[in-house]
């Protein structure tokens, strides 16, 4: 199966690259450590053999689509990555006609770190219920059987919600204290593309320079809020965090609330308006009176 997907992707990539349909293929190649994967940018048909796909291909390549916006390109995208591409199309960041999506029926990716490949699926893949790409021009791989989950995908959020206020404050303080404000979470996120980020603005100086808990907490709340109704749960932020802050717990809280209140899941259909960009005049959200 692994060989199968790789071959399919290579064949398709060679075809569209040599026909001149696209000028760039964004895919995966084997990293220098020999076991994990890294993003690959292929411009010549003879380099297509570098492309791979297996369960170590964890990156969300939609991020690189923004950097190459305007070019005709092809992206190798797992199911969750196609949601990210959909959000970018919805927000007019990339042009659908110029983007060739090589969708992959994704069996889930395993936990990886430099030089090491685990055999356990990543948490986001354990709770994944949509393995087929949402937007594609070509699909590689066999359809993955959708099995009922058997537990609540937001169980981790619910557990934290059930704690007392003091425990929650202590929990988050413990994590925010470790943050070094490297902004890797923001940089890795395919949905964060502002040219000037609000946390780096100097005038007005919304988020101060000190690397202290209040500033770090404001940064994290704003980062999470800017992803409310947009986060597709690819978990690149948490994976790229050098100090291991559970950022997914913040993103999933918003995903859960958006799903409960507005019945919306981002990235499934670019034609449906995002929840915070629309409204119902007579809705009751338990606020305003």
């Amino acid at each position: 199966m692994t060989v199968n997907i790789t071959e399919q992707i290579q064949e398709k990539a060679r075809e569209i690259l040599s026909s001149g349909q696209v000028e760039l293929i964004i895919g995966y190649q084997r990293a220098s450590d020999g076991v994990t994967a890294r993003p690959a940018f292929i411009r010549k048909a003879e380099n297509v053999a570098k492309l791979i796909f297996d369960q170590t291909c964890t990156h969300n390549l939609a991020k690189y689509a923004i950097e190459h916006r305007g070019k005709s390109m092809a992206i190798v995208a797992k199911a969750c990555d196609t949601f990210g591409i959909n959000v970018l199309i919805q927000e007019n960041q990339i042009i659908r006609e110029k983007t060739y999506v090589i969708g992959v029926n994704c069996p889930g990716v395993v936990e990886v770190s430099f030089g090491q490949v685990g055999d356990k699926l990543q948490y986001r893949c354990q709770i994944c219920q949509e393995h087929a790409p949402a937007v594609y021009d070509y699909v590689a791989g066999d359809p993955v059987e959708e099995k009922p989950l058997g537990f609540d995908p937001y169980i981790k959020v619910k557990v934290l919600e059930a704690l007392s206020q003091e425990e929650r404050i202590a929990f988050w303080e413990k994590h925010f204290e470790r943050c070094i404000r490297c902004y890797a979470c923001r940089n890795a996120c395919p949905q964060c593309y502002c040219t000037e980020c609000v946390v780096e603005q100097i005038d007005p100086d919304w988020v101060g320079i000190p690397i202290q808990v209040p500033e770090k907490q404001i940064f994290h709340v704003i980062r999470a809020f800017h992803l409310a109704g947009r986060c597709i749960g690819c978990n690149e932020c948490e994976r790229s965090c050098p100090v291991g802050i559970p950022l997914s717990l913040m993103n999933m809280k918003f995903s859960q609330d958006v799903e409960d209140q507005f019945g919306y899941k981002p990235g499934r259909d670019p034609e449906v308006c995002a929840p915070l960009a629309t409204y119902q005049p007579d809705e009751n959200l338990g606020i305003g009176g």
Partner: protein, 146 residues
């Protein structure tokens, strides 16, 4: 919590309804607690979550956002967007440990001076009961130098 604890409430009032309502409370001499510090904004839809967090960081005990009633927005739909935004933010801040009572979104029309006074009174009592904030979005207030 000391007995002389006085909560500080920051009020973001929309220019067209709530601010005029607060004005009316003043001109009709309807008394309300002086714990609220009012900031006039063009619309409740203008209030960015960042403003609220900044208020908390600078030591506010609670934040009130007041705008026009649904359907009355000067900009037609600003308050509807605000409603969705703060419904989410309120739940999220509660998740991080800032109680839901510390963030309120209310509709106050230009003729509702009494409602405004009642709201401020209610909120001051509620926040006094809760006491000072226990979470970590706070740092010592520094006086800005121009």
């Amino acid at each position: 919590m000391s007995l002389d604890y006085e909560p500080r409430i920051i009020g973001f009032l929309c220019n067209w309804c709530a601010f005029a309502g607060a004005d009316l409370a003043g001109t009709t001499r309807t008394g309300y607690p002086s714990n609220i510090r009012i900031i006039r904004v063009p619309c409740s839809g203008r209030v960015d979550p960042l403003l609220i967090l900044k208020a908390y960081q600078q030591g506010a005990d609670a934040v009130l956002i007041a705008g026009c009633h649904p359907g009355d927005c000067h900009y037609v739909q600003g308050n509807y967007f605000a409603r969705r935004r703060f419904a989410l933010l309120r739940q999220f801040l509660d998740y991080l440990g800032i109680e839901k009572e510390r963030l309120r979104l209310e509709w106050v029309s230009a003729s509702e001076g009494r409602k405004f006074a009642r709201l401020v009174k209610e909120m001051t009592e509620e926040v006094s009961r809760l006491g000072p904030r226990k979470d970590t979005v706070r740092r010592p207030v520094k006086v800005a130098t121009e």
